[in-house]
């Protein structure tokens, strides 16, 4: 299909135009579409397999389970996709979510809901400010900066909870209540976040700037974009979503755990990379991340339905990630030949 396009293009142009025919490569939109198509095929394949092997898989309740399972990860994965497109990581998401929940639980009894919610949100934004300052003002590498804040905030979480679970009452609505069709609030929020970030990436100037900064920060600067500002905003937005997910998590569990959301950063990066966002920056889509999330969730859910140990689920998830990225590399090498 792509070759045909290239030929049509060449015929209509002049004779000195060999170059574009020689380097006939698919257009950007084609490339992105073919990547997404591959993900959709994998997702449908898994779905088909589990539908045939378990009668419960296709039920509405099971799908609500699947979506509930990815809601918290997904709310964080959306801004993480944006950050990775801009060439940045945020490893502190899990620690941040746990800290936000702990602040809420610890302060709730003595301060009342409104004040402790404000404190929890302030805690989340503090994390975003710190990450943003470190990366875009002090210019610490994002991987290192957020590895540091991960440790700091996990430590703070354990300090203020004294290493114990802290129960909280009267904050279950966000995590447990249901909308029509028994859709959990968290799932609706997840859907909203995905739509919002999809829109930001595709149809806003800020989204364009994210892609530009990730693709070539120098060129972005010389085009009048301020890369530091874009990256700073990215970390703030990430922290806002981390705050949201932390609140949902603590509300779902009814308690703040010092070890809550451990490993969230890995789940997020797995989904984002599986969804086709490149570590080199400049490329990626929210739709891809959504597919990545669903593939992992369907895999976990299906293996659970088949009574396969959750330890195997981890193995399967890791294998899938490596397989997806390796295949992508191989495909790229072939198409560059």
């Amino acid at each position: 299909m792509d070759a045909n396009n290239a030929l049509v293009g060449a015929e209509s142009s002049s004779a000195t135009d060999v170059d574009d025919r020689v380097r006939r490569r698919p257009t950007l939109t084609h490339m992105i579409r073919s990547e997404l198509l591959a993900l959709i095929v994998v997702l449908l394949g898994l779905g088909l397999f589990f539908t045939l092997s378990s009668p419960f898989f296709l039920s509405w309740n099971n799908w609500l389970n699947i979506l509930s399972a990815v809601a918290v990860t997904g709310i964080v994965a959306a801004p993480a996709t944006m950050l990775l497109i801009a060439g940045q990581f945020d490893l502190s998401v899990g620690a941040g979510a746990a800290f936000v929940g702990a602040v809420l639980a610890v302060t709730l009894e003595s301060n009342g809901l409104a004040a402790s919610l404000a404190l929890a949100i302030a805690a989340g934004l503090a994390l975003g400010l710190l990450n943003g300052l470190l990366v875009s003002v002090v210019r610490v590498n994002a991987l290192i900066a957020t590895l540091g804040t991960l440790a700091i905030f996990r430590g703070f979480t354990r300090l203020i909870t004294d290493g114990q679970n802290v129960r909280l009452d009267g904050f279950s609505w966000l995590g447990t209540s249901r909308l029509p069709f028994r859709v959990p609030v968290a799932v609706a929020i997840f859907a909203g976040v995905m739509l919002l970030f999809g829109f930001i990436g595709r149809s806003t100037v800020f989204g364009r700037r994210i892609y530009a900064v990730g693709s070539n920060p120098v060129a972005a600067r010389l085009s009048g974009i301020k890369p530091e500002r874009v990256v700073f905003s990215g970390f703030l937005i990430s922290a806002a979503c981390v705050t949201l997910s932390g609140l949902i998590l603590v509300s779902q569990l009814g308690a703040a755990s010092p070890n809550a959301a451990t490993g969230l950063e890995f789940a997020v990066i797995t989904a984002v990379v599986l969804g086709g966002t490149t570590l080199a920056g400049g490329k990626g889509t929210i739709l891809g991340t959504l597919l990545g999330l669903l593939i992992i969730a369907v895999l976990n859910n299906g293996l659970t339905l088949l009574n396969i140990s959750s330890f195997w689920q981890e193995v399967a998830r890791g294998t899938l990630l490596i397989l997806a990225v390796s295949l992508d590399q191989i495909r790229r090498r072939l198409s560059n030949k």
Binding site: A3, N5, A6, L7, G9, A10, S13, S14, A15, T16, D17, V18, D19, D20, R21, V22, R23, R24, R25, T27, L28, T29, H30, M31, R202, S203, T204, V205, F206, R208, R209, Y211, A212, S215, N216, V218, A219, A220, R221, L222, S223, G224, I225, K226, T278, A280, G282, K283
Partner: protein, 504 residues
């Protein structure tokens, strides 16, 4: 050093998919001969030399070395046969020092331990042979592009080379450096090395080559001894049509006495340039001619806020400006096209439309925030024709799939769409073929006629003569001469830059 290599390729053909890139191409070169390979981008030059250095396998055709058939299946085999290629893009290790780069992969060692002293002697002797003064301990990443290229050539020369392929080696070199390279090529020729020299620049063909072969659309359009050929003949063979290269652009105009769009007053940037005074007015194209390292690039960059002056004044449209960042300069109506397209200007993995629109996003967007891909595509389609971009015409096409000249057209379009009062360009036609070069000059002239002030920093005297209404010559950070368009000749420029009196 091995003498008298004779390399012959006959009937080389190569297709990519259904597209034939080389058709029955013959090429021969022997030791002690410099063969210039000339052709527009896409004419098949790179495919041809890549077949010779083992990067591509030809579909048909025979390669012979000293009369024996060989099959060069990989670059390693080519190297073993003494064939080396210097690529146009830098292939160095920026975090290592000059001496380490020169010995990269061929470290002088004993029992697996690198002998640093020998590595240093090797680097020093090769560089002095090239006539280059470089600190062998400095990191390659801190050098200018021209210097890095020299380090790469020096690296190739550490192995015994019988045939050297050079892909536009002077694209990033100053005239002085280029002249030194030519002298070095002559020395290699005397020692019996066969040299294949790819270039766009006609002057260089006459300067270095014994024979010239012109490729067009994958076939040999012309092959002959340089001394029997005229510039005109080469140009016609390259572009396949007659082109009046010497035609002066219409629309040159005298300055009117209105406020200068750009004025530098006693501008000084420590160690780079000092006391620079110049004005650029609406509607004129002013060239800053200087060798690499002369300060001409930095003077131009200052107008865009890349550097901040240590002393002196920068006035834009009659307002004194102290730009803190490029985005301040943009807000004052200044646009900028840097010299290194791929590193500083292109969003390589993004679409042509995004690359064209980037500085204009804020204006194109509704409420300054919302911008649909469709609106961007519309803008690209508007410019596609006027810019003469040869592409699929799809706004989603990745910019990396265009040729250098067409990428540059899109980048120029970036500033046409942005509509600036002053456009600053560095080396605007570096690595751009003759045909596209003419189109870029035409676009710049149209832009000036529409009232934009254009300032071009360049190290190519041909470009100055062809393009400029006025030209300043910069040497060692000071303006040494100013020429009006009717006084401009390449000889005068070279003389003013101090190149004639034995390269400073």
């Amino acid at each position: 050093m091995a003498r008298g290599i004779r390399l012959e390729a006959t009937g080389l053909s190569k297709s990519f998919g259904r597209i034939q890139v080389l058709r029955d191409v013959d090429l021969s070169v022997e030791g002690g001969e410099v063969l210039a390979l000339l052709g527009e981008n896409g004419a098949g030059k790179s495919t041809l030399v890549k077949a010779i250095v083992g990067d591509h396998q030809p579909d048909r055709g025979v390669m012979k070395i000293d009369g024996d058939s060989v099959r060069i299946a990989s670059p390693a085999i080519a190297q073993a046969l003494g064939i080396r290629m210097i690529f146009q893009e830098l292939n160095d290790a920026p975090t290592l020092s000059v001496e380490e780069n020169i010995s990269l992969g061929t470290w002088p060692s004993r029992w697996g331990l690198v002998r640093r002293s020998e590595m240093r002697t090797r680097a020093v002797s090769i560089l002095s042979e090239l006539g280059v003064e470089l600190d062998v301990e400095s990191l390659v990443g801190t050098l200018r592009v021209g210097e890095r290229q020299i380090v790469e050539i020096a690296r190739a020369l550490t192995t015994s080379v019988r045939c050297l392929v050079l892909d536009e080696p002077t694209a990033a070199l100053s005239d002085g450096e280029a002249e030194r390279l030519f002298e070095f090529i002559e020395r290699l020729r005397e020692r019996g090395v066969a040299i294949i020299y790819i270039t766009h620049r006609l002057d260089e063909v006459f300067r270095v080559a014994d024979r010239v072969q012109v490729l067009r659309d994958g076939v040999v359009a012309l092959d002959g001894a340089t001394k029997d050929l005229s510039r005109q003949a080469l140009i016609e063979a390259m572009v396949g049509r007659t082109l009046d290269e010497g035609a002066r652009s219409a629309g040159r105009r005298a300055n009117d006495s209105q406020v200068a769009t750009l004025r530098l007053g006693n501008a000084t940037l420590g160690g780079t340039f000092s006391d620079v005074n110049l004005e650029v007015h609406r509607g004129e194209i002013v060239a800053l001619y200087g060798k690499v390292g002369s300060g001409s690039a930095e003077v131009a960059e200052t107008a865009f806020g890349v550097h901040r002056l240590d002393s002196g004044e920068l006035w834009i449209n009659g307002c004194e400006s102290k730009f803190r960042s490029p985005s301040d300069a943009l807000a004052s109506g200044v646009g900028f096209l840097p010299a290194d397209r791929q590193r500083e200007a292109l969003f390589w993995v993004r679409s042509v439309a995004e690359n064209l629109c980037a500085p204009s996003w804020g204006r194109l967007a509704r409420a300054g925030m919302f911008l649909s891909p469709r609106a961007e595509g519309r803008t690209y389609r508007e410019w596609h024709g006027p810019l003469g971009v040869r592409s699929l015409g799809d706004p989603g096409q990745a910019i990396s799939t265009l040729s250098g000249g067409n990428q540059q057209k899109v980048l120029l379009g970036r500033w046409l769409e942005r509509r600036c009062d002053l456009l600053v360009l560095l080396e605007p036609t570096r690595g751009v073929d003759v045909g596209a070069r003419q189109e870029l000059y035409r676009l710049l002239r149209d832009l000036a006629c529409a009232g934009t002030a254009v300032i071009v920093s360049t190290s190519d005297p041909e470009e100055v003569v062809f393009l400029a209404d006025r030209a300043f010559v910069i040497a060692r950070g000071t303006l040494v001469a100013e020429f009006a368009s009717d006084e401009l000749t390449m000889d005068r420029l070279a003389e003013a830059a101090g190149l004639v009196a034995g390269a400073a």
